[in-house]
Amino acid sequence: MMKTIVMPGNPSCQGCPHAIGLKALGLALEDFVLVIPAGCSTIIAGIHPKATLNVPVLHVPFASAPAVAAGISAAFKRENKKKNVVIWMGDGGADIGFATISGSAVRNDDIIVIVSDNEAYMNTGIQASGTTFWKAKTTTSPAGKREDRKDLAAIMLMHRVPYVATASVGYMNDFIKKLEKVKSIKGFRFIHLHSPCPPGWRFDSSKTVEIARMAVKCGAWILWEFDGKFNLSPASKPYKDKNKRKDLKDYLKMQGRFKGLSENEILEIEKAIDKQWKYIECFENI
């Protein structure tokens, strides 16, 4: 039985994707420390005196994680310590701390940054973030999000770092494979992990994995990897062909945050997804 680092009875909600994703770290990376900025994972990591994760964990202020990780990495380098420094943060941390992530990438800090994206500021009660899905209802976008969303992984790709990938908690084997690859790469490594949130997206806790898979199958979430060469991941390859994609409506109707979307709005989302695939085509030709 492979070692799992997540202790049962932790504060995560029923069906929480972070808890699933964190498990992958323990399965793939051997020797590592974790840096956690403010977010759901701050709570999931345990309430004193009990800790949830059986690895060294450092809680840090919201916007600071990549900078703190850079410091830890420098300290490890001084001692020739081979431990990986991993940040587990949310899309919220990637908004408030965007300059910090960018600065770290520019320095090519020897760290692994995982943004476990549940598409809103969940820990503070579901407010819209930079990656919130098109038209999604949150407490700060009660009529549905009007703005476009930022493509975090693509932005990090443009920082020209050694490794950028997207992953999903619905495809654990793919995520674990990617982690196993980054384990021994030197420099700034970035993984954007799709993490459907039952209370935030309004679906039954049993559907987390199914919804994560639906996102990939209807083309809304695209699995890819850049390690010097850009490649679509096997699970997303079929959906390059629009005809093979599952019906977007099937994805949207499973989630209460899209309740009441009009036909027109669904068409707009489809167009946005199509545009996203156009970028992928560009990246494939780099």
């Binding site: 309430i47 060294p56 916007a63 410091g71 001084r78």
Partner: protein
């Protein structure tokens, strides 16, 4: 070895001698030269350390927090707006009880944009648990920075070495620096109360309210006793160098009827002003504060007992008074508090002589006086 250096260079030299292993700093006038000098030293191999080129001050303190909590002697420097930008981390580092040293080149806060000195920036740190020191000259800037590493590691509290913008940071003075061997004998290997990364523990989790109360009380009590540690370290340093950089300095105060209390570079000019007035037979002296945290209340009380007191602040707390004046008023009576030199307005020997003379003639009647210019 005696040499000529600016305050910025002297701080960089002290950091090098301390065998600091990780440095992260973001440039801001007038601290920039510290960053540049250290980058030069690392690149040339003169200093064996990691230099993290951060993109902001918040990240500067965050980075050295990371390296410090992971066990390495670490250093950063900033001023004014940079200090305010990293303010969240200032509190986090102290609350985390992580020893490290930061130089603050005191600079006024805008708007309007102004790169000159006053002390309001460094004093924003005073409630946080940081040890806060302020140099009078380049020699003290060097001495305090070096001692800061030892003091910080003994107290498990971060240490600030303050110095005035341009007057110290960019002014060349004669400095006696230590050689590496002497510095090594003074500064032992780094120690801290916990190190991150060795054990499978989680640091800083959400905790019951009592935990926060317990930790803050511990910091409070540490600060109450910190004067003893600073005494001890400054005595050790004095034995090696012949120079004492303790909590306070008394200048011609034994027989003084009038006592001035202040901190920073202008204390040097104050000493000259006092010498002038003494020539005329005016019984005036100076109590210079080298540390504002901890503030040695009993010691200050003892030195100032029975004398007329003028506290000269290069900072202010709006509507209340100078910050140092207000602090002293909390444990002593009958204090005249003058605020001057704000925004770097020039206050030299002539201005101080004029002010101190008025003071000695009992002409400063109001309790708080804000002087744009003297």
């Amino acid at each position: 070895m005696k040499t000529i250096m600016t305050g910025n260079q002297a701080v960089a030299e002290a950091v090098k001698l301390s065998r600091t292993e990780v440095i992260a700093a973001y440039p801001i006038t007038p601290q920039t030269v510290i960053v540049e000098k250290l980058a030069e030293m690392v690149d040339s191999g003169e200093l064996d350390a990691e230099f993290i080129r951060v993109e902001s001050e918040h990240s500067a303190l965050a980075s050295v927090y990371g390296s410090a909590v992971a066990g390495k002697r670490s250093f950063t420097a900033t001023s004014s707006h940079g200090l305010l930008y990293m303010y969240e981390m200032v509190w986090w580092v102290a609350n985390a009880r992580v020893p490290l040293v930061m130089a603050v080149v005191t600079r006024t806060i805008g708007p309007p944009w102004n790169i000159h000195t006053d002390h309001t920036d460094i004093l924003t740190m005073r409630d946080s648990g940081w040890i806060i020191s302020m140099a009078e000259n380049v020699q003290e800037a060097f001495d305090l920075t070096l001692q800061g590493f030892k003091i910080s590691e003994e107290l498990n509290l971060p240490f600030t070495a303050g110095m005035d913008a341009f007057q110290l940071s960019h002014t060349s003075e004669v400095v006696e620096i230590l050689d590496q061997e002497t510095a090594d004998s003074f500064l032992p290997e780094r120690r801290q109360c916990y190190v991150f990364g060795e054990e499978n523990t989680t640091i800083g989790s959400l905790a019951p309210n009592e935990c926060t109360a317990k930790l803050r009380k511990d910091t409070f009590e540490t600060m109450l006793k910190a004067d003893k540690t600073i005494d001890k370290v400054s005595k050790e340093y004095e034995e090696i160098t012949g120079r004492n950089c303790g909590l306070i300095e008394e200048y011609r105060i034994d027989d003084a009827e009038y006592a001035v209390v202040m901190m920073g570079a202008w204390s040097g000019d104050a000493k000259d002003a006092i010498d002038e007035l003494r020539k005329e037979g005016i019984p005036i002296g100076l109590l210079k504060l080298r540390y504002i945290r901890p503030i040695p209340q009993k010691r200050i009380e003892k030195v100032l007992e029975g004398r007329e007191i003028l506290v000269l602040d290069r900072d202010c707390s709006m509507g209340l008074g100078g910050i140092i004046g207000t602090e002293l008023k909390s444990f002593m009576d009958d204090i005249t508090n003058v605020i001057a030199g704000i925004g770097g307005v020039d206050v030299g020997v002539n201005e101080l002589t004029k002010l101190f003379r008025k003071f000695s003639e009992d002409k400063l009647k109001d309790e708080v006086i804000f002087l744009e210019v003297i």
